[in-house]
Amino acid sequence: MSATVPQTDLVTVTIDGVDVRVPKGTLLVEAAKAINTDIPVYCYHEKLGPAGLCRICLVEIDGMPKLQIACNTPVADGMKVHTQNPRVDDGRRAILEFFLLNHPLDCPICDKGGECDLQDYAMAWGQGASRMLEPKMPKPKAVDLGPTIVLDEERCIVCQRCVRFDDIITREQSLRTDDRGAHVIIATATGKPYVSDFTGNVTELCPVGALTSKTYRFRSRPWDNHRTTTSCTQCAVGCQMHVDERGDALLRTMSVPEDDALSDSWLCDRGRYNIGFVQDERRLSSPLLKQDGVWVQIDWDDALALWAAELKKAGANAGVIGGGRLLNEEAYLAQHLFRALGIENIDHRVGEQSIVHSDSFANHVDLEHASTIVTIGRPPSELAPVLDLRIRKAVSRNGARLISVGDHYANSFVPETHASTTDELRAALGDAPGKMAVIWDGVMIPGGPELTAPLHAFPADRYVLPETPNGRGADALGMRPHDGALNTRAMLEAARDGKLGVLAILGANPMLRFPDRSLVEAALRATPFVVVTELFMTETAEFANLVLPVCSAFEKSGTTTDFAGDVLPVLGSVRSPEGLLADGDVIVELAEKLGIDLPLPDAVEARVRELVRTPPAAPAAADLIAQPRAAGGPGELRVIAEHTIFTGGGTLAFDPRIAELRTRPRASICPKTAVAIGVEAGDLVNVAAAGGATLRELVVVVDPRIPAGAVALVDGLPGAPLNALGTAAVRVEKSLVSA
């Protein structure tokens, strides 16, 4: 920071006799860090700012009669500060005594024990015994705050970091304090469960053991954990993440406080809590071959030999689908191998998205400094949750304007202007949008180019949010068809027509994600040899001839690419179960079987970095994976595909600990449509496509933000797969089953 500050704006402050030069206005607590002096804090947090509640950060400042709190005192030139002297110690001792009066001191059974600031400071300033003779005040224990968090009100020291996180950072304002004085407790504003996509962060912000995660409670002690730092691979934000493991049991993930560049030190609940699948007993443990409709275990050597033989037989009449869940190196090797075999039909795109990759390298932090942020299509809050916190920051703290375009709104927590027509968008932009950032979900929308035309009048940082964690990497590294080769849709159509001999599906689940499930099913049935690499027996794997069990991202190392084109390290933290290979190793072994030389790791690494930093060629206009969804005839509704962070058939479906977080099937309609159909919020409806497929018993959500004549359905739900309906318009009728 100081590097960019003119010398004239620096002031000198003396802390414990040491002179330190810091920018004017720096808070004392931060200035002290510059000389490695630790001032204790509970309520203060770098990202939340000062609150002045806990009073533990007391320091003595020459010329001031009372002790001052370092968290809210900006440095002044010539200020002389004492952070360690008898008077300061007395003040801190007093505060510690107050904290411990009613604190249960149940450290031996507290999850925070060993990484607790109250424990640490009590060791430094606490007294051996309490001078209070009364029994400690009872408060509610093990309060079920919501699907993810348990609260112990007795341990709480009311620093309000959780309340302030939920106010300042997420803007959701669902936590607050209740009652007052010594009876004050943390509560939810509505009395309803604490539901947010970012709840886990409060357990890390909590300086004591008051807020704990249901997935980690009573599971381990911090000193028994072994820590690895990696990049989260649940979406394309690439949040840096600590992974704590004990004896190969994956216990928890934690944010990296220093990660200002990507996560801003936060994690979403999908990234934090969706780790239980790694140890799920339903993980595939051996290659499986389907013989006469029955799965038979075979060994890797036979499996790879079979695949190699089928590839040789099929020649160029083969297709490869997937890659957005692979690491960069794996994706690069895979496309290298298949292209070496003459297979050009390679496409990592399996969802709604046709464009995956913007030509911009604008990064996460740039977004924070935009004056105008435009979201097109499915919102960042669901595709890249932690990125949405930057948008909320830009709007609520930096005064940015937020404009959403198309069928979807950006979020519900900061003010936004919604534009559903060209004129509305032009009006919303005005004459001088300033530094502009445009975030797109890569899906073509009806009338898209015309609708978004006003954006072209201004320069902008462009972002495309991939649907898969490494979509941008796979795209850059060649897992997209060139020169008339078949894209995913064309491959599936060719396969359905019996024109492909082999279909390899690498870490993808088109049966759940591709917009037309019947096409996928027909293609898989018609293809002589389908091989799938997977962790679980997914909807897609069920239709394969050969299923190969592979490692999760916690069990292998390499790099991944975030949406901004940064190459990020992925570091394995746990050993994979016996008998599993990483996708990359599968490719290497397969190449060996086929007698094809693959580049060496160093060459791969260099090539990855080069390709990822190269702006992509614009895809051909016809290269659409999904056509815009049809508008309906009379009595029909157009489908809007909704994305939420808690959908999917793999890691989420096979993580029973967070079952409560999974998005429930729902049908969202506007009030007018609800009246027309004769349903109310909470009713159940059946949604039927013209082709005959029906999703039954979806819960009605009435939302005035849904356009008239449309119904929003959540994509990627195993129990109610939207893609079973295809892309045609639908009829929505009240279910005969009552809610």
């Binding site: 009073r55 209070m132 009364e134 009652d179």
Partner: protein
Amino acid sequence: MPELITPVLTKGIGELNLRDLAVYAAQGGYEQLRRAIAELSPKAVSDICNGSNLRGRGGAGFPTGRKWSFLPNNGHPRYLVCNCDEAEPGTFKDHMLLEQTPHQIIEGMLIGAYAIGCTHAYIYIRGEFKRGYEIMRDAVRQARDAGFIGEKLFGTDTNLELTIHRGAGAYICGEETGLLNSLEGKRGEPRLKPPFPAVKGLYGEPTVVNNVETLAYLPYIMRNGAEWFAKVGPERSPGYKVVSISGHVAKPGNYEVALGTTIRQLIYDCAGGLRPGRTFMGVQPGGGSSACLFEEHLDVSYDFDSVTKAGSMLGSGAMVVFDDTTDFVKASYALIRFFSHESCGQCTPCREGGHWLQRTLERILDGRGVDSDVDVIKSAAHQLTGLNLCALGDSIEPFLASVITRYEDQFRAYIKRPAQQVAV
């Protein structure tokens, strides 16, 4: 005796129906508002206030003109908020002024608002003052109908709006930033300072919060000139003050006197002295937050600086008198319980320390005290002082410490109970 009492704000109370605008106007009411707006610049009005050396009557005694001068010239809207959340134990002057003479409060608010360049003033009325609220509501309606509130006042371009807000019953909302939070619809908790309200107050804009009595003096200072006010009483603490006297006196009530009157005069000449046959044990000169003064302090001049010098504070001007029937353990407990109950719970020393003292005193009163309690009480009360986010926490110690030092025997007496009752 009669010359001691100098009615300014209290003039006409009990004789005239000053709630009626016509009656108030017949006494010269709203003439100074007209003069200010029609004839004087805002600066001229604030210069008059500055020249009077008027100090805030709400508790802190901060010079009003100086408080106004802290408002930054940043072109932002400014707010004036009248603090009518009077809840300090022993204080009942604003309550009376609100119910008896609402128009002088309105006039004072409007003059103050004009002086600082504010076009929208608020009055925050304590929730329990239902009758006062209704009276104020009617008075505002009258003033609006008469053209004193609204747009283009007195044919000028000056607009002044006035909004009444009722509190919901929390002592902490009398603290100015707690009040602002409450006024904004938030939880009534004091804000961290800096920034101070003058820079970032109501709705994040520059704001002045003044007490009812402070603002009510403005029309009289305007009418009689700054000198009239400034030359009364001590030079640095001049003017008149409505003093609420309660407790063990013959005639409790509100007495408006010149600052500089002695405590003895206030108790014996104004409030009729003690009840027959009783002896003086102490007096809280400035409400529940102030330390007790004793016999030797009776001749202390009742003004901001002298009372502070004597080891207490003038505060909101509420004297609570104690005679020899007083049980100081119970008196301390009553106050500690009040502060503990009214603590917002935000900051640690006040939240935890107040409650600790309350429970310890409860046990002592219950006959289960132990010898070490007295020292622990003293130490705990002392160590929670000076560390708090707002003044509430620092209000816990003064009375307790003053009486436990003076009348320790009363505390010890509770502890010398039969041993079997000492079980904890």
